[in-house]
């Protein structure tokens, strides 16, 4: 299946797509989770997890480049019709769950930091209506929103200068003070923050000269790693270890020290501005989920879009407490981890074998002649 030229986006936009979906609600409070195991050495895990993502991006490109670009047909080609369909369904579900996690977690932040009495359904429906508006206009609009979602909030990085007046960079010493096992566990928990890049699997056919876009995907991920690393190091120097363990949204707590004459508290500003980032996250993942569903079930795209948005809304409303939201985050983390650590390498290995076999067959054919 070939996508029409006027629906395609330029390869360099992959940079914004990958980066914007990776930076999301995780940035607000991943530090505590990562530092839980490897302590203040876990910045190494942040770096390490980022490197793993680079490898996974390489794998995704290998699979898509050699497999013709459409993930659903690759699934059936590699694993047969039935298992292939199961994979397709899992992928649809995965992006839907991912959307729910991001949206509900962000709504929780809004409820805790700004409006404790605001009901979930109100803010969720506003978000989803907006998402519907963006996604129904097609992938190019989604990409445009992703572009804005990277460029506009970039200025927020300046806010990280303010906590420096309280920083104790010696907190990071001594380096390499934990066991290998701890590094691995914290690398695993860091993965959730980097996830989202798998949407590559879905939007690849929408990229013009998709093969040339690989370097932009790597750049996108590289910027994400850089941002996470900077925030991690600033956070670790700002909080003492046990203090960090108590801060659910460490980045926001850090921004709480920012005081300038015209705005006394920047965390509110940060939370409000972050809704733009969250919108890009949700738009892209809902788009991915509904697009896959469209291809698999052979129905119209916006019907699936409405259906999935409805499911997301209902689940978001049902998740009422911090405990449940935490649970959802943990499960998504596990799901995402297996997605990254097992599913993508599996795809990669299967297509390597397939390609080898193809080459081998061709060689035999040519030698037989």
């Amino acid at each position: 299946m070939k996508i029409k030229e006027n629906f395609l986006v330029s390869p360099y936009l992959v940079f914004f797509l990958v980066h914007s979906i990776q930076v999301g609600v995780g940035v607000l409070g991943y530090q505590r989770v990562v530092a839980k195991f490897a302590g203040y050495d876990s910045w190494i895990s942040v770096l390490f997890a980022g490197m793993i993502i680079h490898i996974l991006i390489y794998m995704i490109y290998y699979v898509l480049n050699t497999g013709g670009g459409d993930i659903t047909s690759i699934h059936t080609k590699l694993f047969g019709k039935y298992i292939g369909t199961v994979f397709n369904l899992v992928l649809i579900l995965y992006f839907a769950v991912w959307t729910i996690t991001v949206l509900r977690t962000y709504i929780e932040v809004v409820q805790v930091w700004m409006f404790p009495t605001l009901e979930t359904w109100k803010i969720a429906s506003v978000f989803l209506l907006l998402t519907y508006y963006v996604v129904s206009a097609g992938f190019r609009t989604v990409t445009g929103v992703c572009f804005l979602g990277v460029v506009l909030p970039f200025g927020l990085i300046v806010l990280l200068v303010f906590p420096l007046q309280y920083s104790h960079f010696t907190n990071l010493l001594p380096v390499f003070d934990e066991s290998i096992k701890d590094y691995i566990i914290s690398t695993k928990s860091m993965m959730l923050s980097y996830l989202g890049f798998e949407s590559l699997l879905v939007f690849y056919p929408f990229v013009k000269n998709a093969k040339t876009s690989e370097k932009y995907a790597h750049f996108g991920n590289f910027l994400t790693v850089l941002i996470y690393l900077t925030i991690t190091i600033i956070t670790f120097s700002f909080f003492s270890e046990e203090q960090l363990a108590r801060n659910v949204w460490a980045t926001l707590s850090m921004v709480k020290v920012v005081q300038v004459s015209f705005v006394e508290r920047f965390d509110y500003f940060f939370v409000s501005f972050w809704c733009l980032v969250i919108l890009t996250n949700i738009a892209l993942s809902i788009w991915a989920s509904s697009r896959l569903a469209k291809v698999v079930f052979k129905v119209r795209h916006h019907q699936m879009l409405i259906l999935i948005s409805g499911v997301v809304l209902v689940v978001c409303v049902l998740l009422k407490t911090r405990f449940l939201i935490n649970l959802l985050n943990n499960y998504t983390n596990i799901l995402g981890f297996y997605m990254a650590a097992i599913y993508i390498p599996l795809l990669f290995i299967a297509s390597v074998i397939k390609n080898k076999k193809k080459k081998h067959d061709q060689m035999e054919n040519s030698s037989a002649q």
Binding site: F115, L129, E241, Q243, V257
Partner: protein, 351 residues
């Protein structure tokens, strides 16, 4: 759409709120808490007046609800600047209150806290000449002293950083009410979350130098040459401390090397600052006094079993697999030496 979400949001209009600026906590009989809150009242003629409510309850937060029953407009904590603890109250521990403040998203991390010698309720009810709002007066007093005097950096974040950090203990400014004014007495030292001791203004100079490094503060030093006696004042231009640790038989030994660059502000007439020996005399007298005071201060910390200088943290940075419990045991009879180097770099615009 924006309109839709707008009408569904609970709005808070600033004219219809009572913005609490300071809260003081005192201990009442039977472990109850007396809370006093002040907020500004803006009069139509442009003047401002502080209004106070006070009430007794079992928890730090419920008293807010109780005083809300006395207030014509809802009370909010969004503009809270300072929280005070009566010394008797702080001796029993402040953690619950501090954590409650920390949990509140409306309250910034730069909130100031202080221990008061005497009743905070009386302190907050008094009117002061310096500023009609006691809360603003105290906040400015503390910030001013952090910048230009002997007070090390303190606020809610710093307190909790030191509290939760292993091998560190927190400290807060110590205030006292005088007639018509509030005075910064020095520094209140905490063991975990309990107020256990204090440093006076003079000792604070040394403390700030050791804990933060400082670019401020004045120190009065006794000078003596032969029969002649007098006092000199030295203004600190820059003071820094380097920590060194040696380990002998598993026991750490600290050497704190402080360097002070100072400027002479005042000196007795019999000194001639154009002559090198006179400068030497000031330097050595200053050094001697600082060394002595630092040694006394460190042994006071050891006696109290507190570590506001963060020596444990210094050790943690240098040591793999640092054992906090063991360090705590060793702390009381650890060898800690302070040695100061003083350099007088300026003598003002006249010689």
């Amino acid at each position: 759409m924006i309109f839709l979400i707008n009408i569904s949001l609970p709005s808070e209009i600033i004219d219809e709120l009572q913005l609490i600026q300071a809260i003081g906590y005192d201990r009442e009989e039977g472990d109850q808490i007396r809370g006093t809150a002040t907020f500004p009242l803006f009069n139509p003629d442009g003047t401002v007046k502080a209004e106070k409510f006070t009430s007794v309850s079992n928890t730090s937060r419920y008293f807010l609800s109780k005083i809300n029953t006395q207030s014509p407009k809802p009370l909010t904590t969004g503009q809270l600047r300072i929280v005070l603890f009566e010394n008797k109250f702080a001796e029993k521990g402040v953690l619950e209150i501090v954590n409650t403040l920390y949990r509140d998203p409306n309250i910034g991390n730069t909130l100031h806290m202080a221990v008061v010698e005497g009743s905070t309720s009386k302190l907050l009810k008094q009117d002061y000449a310096a500023n009609p709002l006691a809360a603003i007066y105290m906040t400015e007093l503390i910030e001013q002293n952090i910048k230009t005097e002997n007070l090390p950096k303190t606020n809610l974040h710093v307190f909790l950083y030191n509290f939760y950090g292993k091998g560190m203990d927190p400290y807060l400014p110590l205030l006292k009410m005088g007639k018509n004014k509030i005075k910064l007495q020095g520094i209140a030292l905490f063991k975990e979350d309990q107020y256990v001791g204090k440093l006076n203004h003079n000792e604070s100079f040394v403390f700030k130098m050791l804990v933060d490094g400082s670019k401020a503060g004045r120190y009065e030093v006794k000078l003596k040459r032969g029969k002649e006696k007098g006092y000199g004042v030295i203004r600190n231009i820059s003071a820094k401390t380097k920590y060194h640790v040696e380990k002998t038989n598993g026991k750490p030994k600290f050497t704190l090397n402080a360097t002070i660059l100072g400027e002479i502000h005042e000196y007795p007439h019999w000194l001639n600052l154009e002559q090198k020996p006179s400068i030497d005399l000031v330097e050595s007298a200053f050094k001697k006094e600082i060394d002595m005071q630092a040694a006394a201060m460190v042994s006071k910390f050891q006696e109290l079993g507190i570590d506001p200088l963060g020596l444990g943290d210094q050790l943690r940075r240098r040591e793999r697999g640092w054992d906090f419990a063991k360090y705590r045991e060793q702390y009381k009879d650890m060898e800690i030496n302070v040695s100061t180097k003083v350099k007088i770099v300026q003598t003002g615009i006249i010689e």
